[in-house]
Amino acid sequence: MSLELKQIVKTYADPEGGLQTILNVPEFSLGQGEQVALVGTSGSGKTTLLNVAAGITLPDSGTVMVGGIEITKMLEAVRDRFRSERIGYVFQTFNLLPAFTALENVLLGMSFSSQPANKHLAIELLGRVGLGDRLHYRPGQLSVGQQQRVSVARALAKTPRLLLADEPTANVDGPNQAAVLRLMQESCRENNVTLLLVTHTAEVAKQFTRVERLSDFNLAAPQVASSHTTGAMV
């Protein structure tokens, strides 16, 4: 499922009462099944861009097309349903519900679509992120990295057509980082899912054939010189 952003402007009220433009994207697009790493400095609008792409946040102006469907024109309830059925989202802050076990968190991600929750798939995905023996652990009983892996499994469980991932490996240790990334990329490849992954790690970005720098197409982002020599990309 392709993703196209056109003439996107998003502003926020700043504490002084003025408006601060966080996104000004004339055009940004991903083809169906394409996998793109998006890098940018802190505060450059990466998360806002993903929220706009997911239909969580509406832009002040511009259009967002997912699979050729303009989600910015949808009624909110329709957009919610669309997101629940077609868009997977791995949050930077995991966003697991503390009262739910790892398995329940994954099942919850499936609960809001019209399809019945697939428990077997949820268990299989948790197994693939190395948490087969932690199904009934609550987030508070899991390490930060394990929580992030639950978050990845939750996003994949609803078999999305577009997967948005905000620093999905930021808190995962070396071997698990590679496993999580591999799982996401393989799953997307197998199912022809479009993947847009935000990262600040060169090692992660290297795994992608297409790497986009937010400052290159977001006119509102602070312009920073690129660096390819360090592990961290800004």
């Binding site: 969580i56 309830a77 949050f91 739910f100 919850l108 991600g109």
Partner: protein, 449 residues
């Protein structure tokens, strides 16, 4: 995962606050159920106690007082009726059974009311389809006594025990010398019979002072039938004639346990009331109307004054209690509102996460309403069980103190309305928090604060 499962998770996450909130609902419902059960038992007891009789006939006065004294034995009798009146009533073709009772005396121990009556008293069911059962025998000889279960339990009396009665109630202090022997103990009935002592009416009249002097008896009987008073010389002649016929039997005392009886002239006998069953219900209605016109007697349906009492006084008390307990439940509902609303502030992020995962605003609204429903209905069901448990626990105490037979397993139709009522309350108190959750902004609440 259904919205109820998600709501239940949220309740469990705040288990202590949720438990206390549900408990407050449970306590309110428990009190309401207990009030409903107790009231219904009291109401049915008051109505069923006298269901065996179609009419209670007594002297003119308040119908309620007549019923309270003759059936419930909680009020002193109004006046007495001539025995001849009872005999005449017995001959009325519309009457099936007429049971005379003489009241006013109490036991020396425990001040239980003494009921002088005839053995047929026990042939009429004391309540709907419930016959008297006795350990021992019913009344046979003049100085036999049958006692209620509570009298037996309180005074420790059994068959063979002897009792004496205090004239005109315990206040006068005059204790009759004559002793009655307990020949039977009634099985519990849950009616005032449990705290009554029944003595044979024949023996009752044989007690010194229970037969009126001839001149007074003649005067009262003539008054009752609306006849003019006799001239003094005519009265003296009448008295002389009666003394000649029956006189002399009061010149000696009765030895203890001596079976030595005299025939008391009818004119000297009086009854406090007459319990009547008629051959048809219509006859009861007709007789009640006839009694309103003549003599100095009244006939009343024994249920009607009690119904009026229940409606006028106890009914209002019940309504008051129900309002109070209803208010307790409403206050509990406010507790649910506060609990959910306060927790929402901490749960904005969770709501935003669910919305980001694709939950619609209506789904979030439904989850909060489901949470309110679970707390209200969970508390309500617990309250229903606790209410019945309370009655089960309290039943032996209440029965021991009042004689009312109480069952905690009595279900009221109104109880079935409680749960739908609580569901409505849950929706009302959950609405504002649900709307607040409904309006939760997703993007600004997604990140940890």
């Amino acid at each position: 995962m259904s919205i109820f499962q998600i709501a239940w998770k949220s309740i469990r996450q705040r288990s202590v606050a949720s438990f206390l909130t549900g408990l407050s609902v449970a306590l309110g419902v428990m009190l309401m159920v207990a009030v409903m059960i107790l009231y219904s038992i009291i109401a049915s007891t008051f109505q069923q106690t006298s269901i065996g009789y179609d009419l209670v006939v007594g002297p003119k006065g308040s119908p309620l007082q007549l019923v309270l004294s003759s059936i419930y034995r909680v009020s002193p009798p109004i006046e007495n009726l001539p025995f001849r009146f009872y005999k005449d009533l017995q001959k009325d073709p519309r009457v099936d059974k007429a049971i005379p009772i003489a009241l006013g005396d109490t036991t020396e121990e425990g001040s239980f009311p003494i009921v002088g009556t005839v053995p047929e008293y026990f042939s009429i069911p004391f309540s709907h389809n419930r016959e008297f059962a006795v350990r021992g025998t019913f009344l046979r000889k003049p100085f036999d006594a049958v006692i209620g279960s509570r009298v037996a339990a309180t005074n420790g009396w059994k068959e063979g025990s002897q009792l004496r009665m205090v004239h005109g109630g315990a206040d006068t202090g005059h204790v009759h010398n004559e002793k009655f022997t307990v020949v039977g103990v009634l099985a519990p009935t849950g009616t005032p019979n449990d705290r009554s002592v029944f003595v044979n009416l024949d023996g009752f009249y044989l007690i010194q002072g229970h037969d009126k002097p001839f001149d007074e008896a003649i005067k009262r009987e003539r008054e009752f039938y609306g006849q003019p008073p006799l001239e003094p010389e005519v009265m003296a002649a009448e008295v002389q004639k009666l003394e000649k016929r029956y006189g002399g039997h009061h010149d000696h005392d009765h030895a203890e346990g001596e079976e030595h009886f005299h025939d008391v002239p009818m004119i000297q006998k009086e009854v406090t009331a007459i319990l009547v069953t008629t051959k048809t219900l219509m006859a009861a209605g007709l007789m009640e109307g006839e009694f309103k016109k003549g003599f100095k007697a009244q006939a009343t349906n024994p249920i009607r004054p009690m119904n009026q009492l229940l409606t006028d006084i106890l009914g209002n008390i019940q309504i008051l209690l129900l309002i109070l307990t209803g208010l307790i439940i409403v206050v509990s509902g406010v507790g649910i509102f506060v609990s959910i609303y306060a927790s929402l502030q901490e749960r904005r992020r969770e709501i935003a996460i669910m919305r980001a995962l694709g939950a619609r605003r209506e789904t979030i609204f439904g989850i909060v309403i489901a949470e309110s429903l679970l707390l209200c209905l969970g508390g309500g069901i617990a309250g229903l069980l606790l209410g019945h448990l309370l009655v089960v626990v309290a039943a032996p105490i209440v029965t021991a103190r009042t004689g009312l037979l109480i069952s905690g397993f009595t279900f009221q139709m109104t109880e079935w309305l409680l749960l739908p009522g609580l569901a409505v309350l849950a929706v009302i108190v959950g609405y504002i928090p649900a709307m607040s959750a409904y309006r939760t902004e997703v993007a600004s609440n997604l990140n940890p604060s």
